[in-house]
Each structure stands twice: as C-alpha cells, then as structure tokens.
Homo-oligomer: 453 residues x 2
C-alpha cells in the first residue's frame, strides 16, 4: 500500500469514527489546537525563519518573487495572533451540521428528515501562506470533515510544525490525530487525486492554472477557488457620484484581490458626460486605462484637462477584456445598451461578481437576473463579494463553479445532507403497503423539526 493510500485511508477512518462523536468535541479539539499552537510558538517561528532564509536564497537567485517571500512570513505584523484568534473564532461559529432542512411525515409513524452532515474527506491544496494550514484545519474540524492538506514547498518546515501542533491538539480530544494530516510532495497529491474511494472533495486554493490542472486530473469533485474577472457597468441612468465611488473602490481598494474589478463598461450615452469624470478620478488614483476606440476618443477630446493621459491611457486589445490584471490597470469599453453589456459580461467575465451603477429599477432587475455571475450588484463595489462581508463569519474560498456552492463559501459549503427515515409503526414500514389500492402517502410537513437522534 502506498503512503498516499495509507494517508487517505486513515483520513476516511478518522472521518467515519468521528460521526459517532458529539459535535461539541470538535469545538474542544479546536481549543486544544489553539493551546498546542501557543505552546509551540517559538519552535514554529524558528522553523518559519528557516523557510524564510531558504526563500531568500531563491529570491536572490531570481527564482522566487519578493511577494511570495513576504507571504511566507508568519511573524509579520499581527499574523501569528490573528491566526490563533481565527481558530477560536471558527470554534465559536454555529455548528453547520445537524440542521434539519426538510421534514415530512410520509405516513403515520413514518418520519423523514433531511439533516446536514459533513462531506467526508477534503483534500486541500494551496500555495505559499503557511497560516492557511491552520485556517483550513479549523474549518474542516468545525464542519466535521477530515482533511489532508498540502501547502507550498517553500513553507514545508513551517507547515510541518503547524501540522504537528494540530495533531497534538487533536490527540487531546476524542477525535483521531489523523483527522487532519499534512502531505509535502506533489507526487503524493497525484496519488491522492486517484483515490476517489477515500477522498470526497478537492479544494485547490491558488492560481487558475493550479485549479485547472487539478480538474483535469481527477474525477473527485473540485470546488474551485478560481480567478476573478469582475466588471462594473455604468448604465444610461448612472448617478455620477455613485459611478466614481463604485468604480474607484472596485478597482483600487485592493487590486490584487479576486473581487477587484478588471473591466469597466460605459453606456455610449455617457461618453461625453460621466465617463470623463470617472476617468479623471481613476487617472488621479494612478490607474492605467486600456480603452476601446470610443472611450479613448472621448478622453482625447478632453485631453488638456485630464492628468496623466499620455502616460496612463492606451488602446485596448481583445485580450484586455479577458485578462485578470490584479494591478492598477482597468480595461474599458463603450456599449450601446444594457442588453449588450449583459451579453458582453456573460461572454467575458469569470462569472464571479459584476456590478451595475444605475438609477433605474428596471435596469437593475434586468442586470441582476441577466448577468450569469455568482454576484450581481447594484450601486455597490464588487469588493463586497467576500464571506466575512456577507456575514458568514468565515470564508472557505470563493467558488465560480455552478453546483453545490457559488460565490463566497462559508462553513455551509463544507456540508451536505443525508436523509434519515424512521418508522415508529408497530410493524415497521414497507413500500408494498402503498401499492395500488393500498395506503396513500401523507407528505405532511413536520413543523419545527429537530434532529431525530
């Protein structure tokens, strides 16, 4: 048996055993992990410094980016403390399991309950930032899933010690210490992707190419934390102040986030009015504009009065509108109608989040229904697309997939349900009694149903 198979089997066993352990024990486990992390702080941060040292060599040799190195540092600012606080925060969220979402009396003494429960074994693959190990472990444990985690190789020393602290915490609870396991190599990932009998969901957190390569190499379902190609559309009736505020915030608040806006669509009627005002605000914020012919001409007509025009504005190419810039660059185009904007967004966006600026309820409704994205916003920045801002208390990731979970995913995205059917009839229940001419199904709602067991 390969080592990967042993790991996967141990995870499945840990998961199955945990189903008979009360969910309060999962909260206990998180508290114990918090303690274990605290007491191993010095050791973990020492390992992190080793990782940083090795990374610095790579950066000096030009084989690693400075920004990747920065993300490795666990001792920067309040990162360590907020990582630890995160464990307690997740522990105190409501239990997503054991919730009854459908309850019917099928017959006298025959009750059906649909009850939320964990998915099973998660394989989570992420890059660089070592604190994600702790974050994901907390989410998995809280939702009752076993997990196998693979971080970036640059943080191997750190994640190994974080993982040991997690196992130590688990071993002080009734959960198995193989409930959360860490792997180190890509070869192990490849082996695990073939083990669909043990692994129930793969969650890649990282680049689009990581997500894609995993989707192409497994039949295990993948919950994609994919790229964001978000857009803002300025409707014919857009209010100028709202347009400026929403576009500016969507683009500049945090340009490298997946919910930052990459494309601005301007209704043709605004080319000489709202558009130059918005453009001025963007140029003053040092945003580079890649413009189509119409939006470019409109700016050039006002050339003398606009700052940085020559240095920041240039013509777009078709690729501009399918590029996730992640920097202070915005692709711009004009379109003749709301319908054209909806079609353009559906064809070019990554179905993440798109926003309309409008004073018309009709336009707002058509945009929200017609744009086929996880988030359709009215007069609000695309940057609101976030699990914490939505009020979930945490975020597992953002899904641009179309089944199970869409948009920002909270703990709910880590659960599914099972059906429990209980007969309390004197003779049990059989379907033969409901054959033609026999009993009829009642299908009566059970009010305020709670978990039957």
């Amino acid at each position: 048996m390969s080592s990967a198979e042993e790991i996967a089997k141990a995870a499945k066993t840990a998961f199955e055993e945990s189903q008979l352990i009360p969910s309060t024990e999962r909260v206990t486990a998180l508290q114990r992990i918090h303690v274990a992390l605290q007491s191993n702080r010095a050791e973990i941060l020492a390992a992190n410094r080793e990782d940083l040292k090795a990374a610095q060599v790579e950066v000096d040799a030009g084989r690693m980016s400075e920004s990747l190195l920065k993300r490795l540092d666990l001792d920067k600012g309040d990162k360590w403390d907020s990582m630890l606080q995160g464990v307690l925060d997740v522990a105190s969220l409501p239990d997503p399991t054991g919730i009854v979402s459908y309850a019917k009396e099928l017959d006298d003494g025959l009750e059906l309950y649909r009850v939320s429960c964990p998915i099973g074994v998660l394989l989570v693959i992420f890059e660089a930032r070592p604190e994600v190990v702790v974050n994901i472990a907390a989410l998995a444990i809280k939702s009752g899933n076993a997990a196998i985690l693979k971080g970036g190789k640059e943080s191997n020393r750190t994640t190994q010690l974080l993982s040991q602290a997690i196992a130590a915490g688990l071993s002080h609870s009734s959960l198995s210490d193989t409930y959360v396991q860490t792997i180190q190599t890509r070869a192990e990932v490849s082996s695990l992707l073939a083990l669909d009998q043990y692994i129930d969901l793969v969650i890649p957190r990282g680049s689009n190419s990581l997500v894609s390569s995993i989707q192409n190499n497994t039949k295990i379902p993948v919950m994609g934390h994919a790229d964001g190609l978000c857009s803002v559309y300025l409707d014919e009736s857009a209010d100028v102040e709202k347009a400026v505020r929403v576009v500016l915030d969507s683009k500049t608040d945090y340009p490298s986030a997946c919910n930052a806006t990459e494309t601005l669509i301007v209704h043709e009627s605004l080319l000489q009015t709202t558009w130059p005002v918005v453009a001025r605000a963007l140029l003053e914020a040092n945003v580079r504009l890649l413009c189509d012919a119409a939006t470019l001409a409109a700016l050039q007509a006002q050339s003398p009065s606009l700052p940085n025009l020559a240095s920041l504005v240039s013509p777009s190419t078709p690729e501009s509108y399918t590029t996730e810039h992640l920097t202070l660059t915005l692709s711009v185009l004009a379109l003749p109608s709301l319908q054209a904007a909806i079609r353009f967004i559906n064809a070019h966006s990554s179905h993440h989040t798109d926003s309309i600026v409008t004073e018309s309820e009709l336009s707002a409704a058509a945009f929200c229904r017609g744009v086929d994205s996880a988030g359709t916003f009215v007069n609000a920045s695309t940057r609101f697309a976030d699990g914490f801002r939505y009020g979930f208390g945490t975020e597992v990731g953002i899904s641009t997939g179309r089944i199970h979970a869409r948009g920002p995913v909270g703990l709910e995205g880590l659960v599914i349900y099972k059906y429990m059917l209980r007969s309390t009839g004197a003779k049990g229940h059989v379907v033969g009694d409901f054959a033609a001419g026999g009993k009829q199904y009642k299908h009566t709602d059970i009010q305020n149903a709670a978990l039957p067991f």
Copy 2:
C-alpha cells in the same frame, strides 16, 4: 466550428436569454409541449414501431436483450399517457427558482439576497427508454435550465420525433427552440464533454460503467445517478415481524431497482432465533441466499424444516458483498456488533440507502449517524428511497455523490443560487467606507425576504 460546439453555444445562448423571461413562461412552454406531443402522437408512435422492428432484428440475432426491447416500447400499457401527464405534473410543481434562502442588511441601505436560480446548460445522457427525453426536458424547462439530451441509439427514430415536438412546443413560447436539443451520436457526446465553457452539469442516467466513463472524461461536474448496493442490518434487539417485513420488502418489492437491498447483515445473537424466520420468508419468496459460514450453518441446523434450502442457499464469496445483484439474490453475513455492521456497510455499500431493524433508540441513533449513506433508515424498507415517496413530486435521479445533491434528487437539485446585493444609499456603497476606524457591518437578518427584483 464543430456541430457539437454549435449545439452547446446555442444552448448557452438560449439559457442566458431565458434569464430575462418570467418563469411563468416556462410553464406555458410545458403546456405547449404537451399539446405538440398530443397532436403528433400517431407519427411518434409510428417511429417508435420502426425502432421496435429494428430492435427485434437485434434481439433475434442475439445482439440485444429482450428486456431492453421492452423498455423501448412507448405504446405499452399507459406509458404514452403517463408520459404526457408527467409534463403537466412537472409544470404544476412549485417554481424552484427565485427563492430567497439568505437575506441580510449589511449596512443601512445595503441589502444582500441569496436567490435560487438555474444551473445553466445540462447535458443528460441516458439509455434506452425514449420517454426519458420528455421527462428530462420537462424537468429542465421547469427549473430554468437549458438541456442537451442524448438517448440510446436504439430509440433514435422515436427520440428525434419527441425532440421535434418539444422544439415545436418551445417555439410557441418566448423560450428559444434551442432551449432543449437532442443529439444522436457518441462522438457528439465526446465533443460536448470537452466544452466546459458552455456546459455546466452532466447527468448520466444509466449503468455504473456509463457514469464512470463520463466522470473519467470530463472536467464538467457530473451528478451521478449511480448503482445501489443497499443493505439491511438486523440489530440484536430487532423485532421479528419487522425484520421479516422490512427484509422481504427491501429485497423482493422490485429487485431490479437501485434501492432494492443486496446484503443482509445479521447480529450474531439472532443466528438461531430471528435469522431462520427471516430466511424461511425469503426462501418462500424464492430468494437465493449467498451465506457466510455462520448464517449458512444456522440454516443447515434447521435444514429439514426450511423450504428450498438445497436449491436456493449457497456459500458466499467475498465478491458477493460488493455485487449489485438486481435479481432475487441476497448476500448474507453475521457480525458480532452494531459497530462492526456500521464499519462493514461503510466499507462495502455504495452509500445509497441502508436500514437497521431495531427496538433500541441508541442503536438507531448510532446507525443513522454512523452509516455514511445518503439514506439511513430505521425499521423501514430501503425501497422508500425515492423522490416521489419523499414528497418531491418528481425525481431527477438518485445521487450517490457527496456534494450539491445527495440521495433522491428533486427539482431542487437542478438549481443553485446567486447573490444579489443592492445599495439604495444616496452615494452607493464602497468597502473603503468600512476600513479600520470606519463603518461597521450590521449583518441584520431581513425577515420574510422576497426576491428583490
């Protein structure tokens, strides 16, 4: 552009355009399809007779089974009428879209709504029975999804005419007549499985090998209507009458169904008591028993009094417990404890539906929580696992997958949700206002929230 790509693109366009059409129009489309099918009855049944004639040649040559041929016949019994009634039944079900499942006020004048909506374009692949075309088309239209359907090649003439009637019905509504399309060849299926930019969900309805081969050849999510390896466990405290009724119904009510039971697990303490009584009932019902050493010995000890013992009872092999018999054959084994039964089921069942016969609340609770299947039943036949019996009004299929939808799937399984965020604030809403030291998120529940648009 290949023909498959044209079909997929047309489906996506039809889907996107339909998002701006009120959902009542989908009901109209179903009524028009009902009319179109009625008025083309003679023509469709004539085509069906051609399919049957061709199939008879294959049966005579030994290349097709008699049972497959029977399933092709659209004029058998009340099949035609119930197919037509099914369209109206689906039309009259509650609309699964536009339902608000989460609504929060994030700030004064900033409201978030999670609204159910269709998934997009479905690719449904099924075998033999031509009426499935109409059934699936109705489910797709009702839930607002576009669909591409591929039936078995044996029913090509019939499905082509059914498909024309569906298109004719659609053309008398505001929906595009490419909202539901039918394809005929496996080559088209292969091409479509690569088009994840247009197709959002694949639903194979057929054999395990069909499901598996599709899962291995696409990165589009697959909602598996998979095989059923269901089991019944007779607990130490099982009531004899319930045991007999539940086991008999689970095995014999409809042996070729996926929710029929294939394995019986007997608690060791029942070997000399309940087990022979249950076995007698099974043997009288002509059920073949594949027994492990303990359950076999227990029967042989009572040999003279049991009917058909020599002809119907034989030793099991390890494969017996991973075989979906789909006939009047039952694999039987004895185990020493509830815990052992749970472990056995989790290792051998297809996670479809498993039932315990018990008088103990504790055993029932442990079984329902510990058995990792879509359905965990107490004193009830596994045959209850069915969308109609559960009260869904229809059944899209049964999923043994672990995300999105599990167990019998109703219309709910064909929808996902999107988030609509609406600012009614005087200046719109931007996240910059919520930065450190700024505004705080309110996250207040919106009571009785309805679709904002």
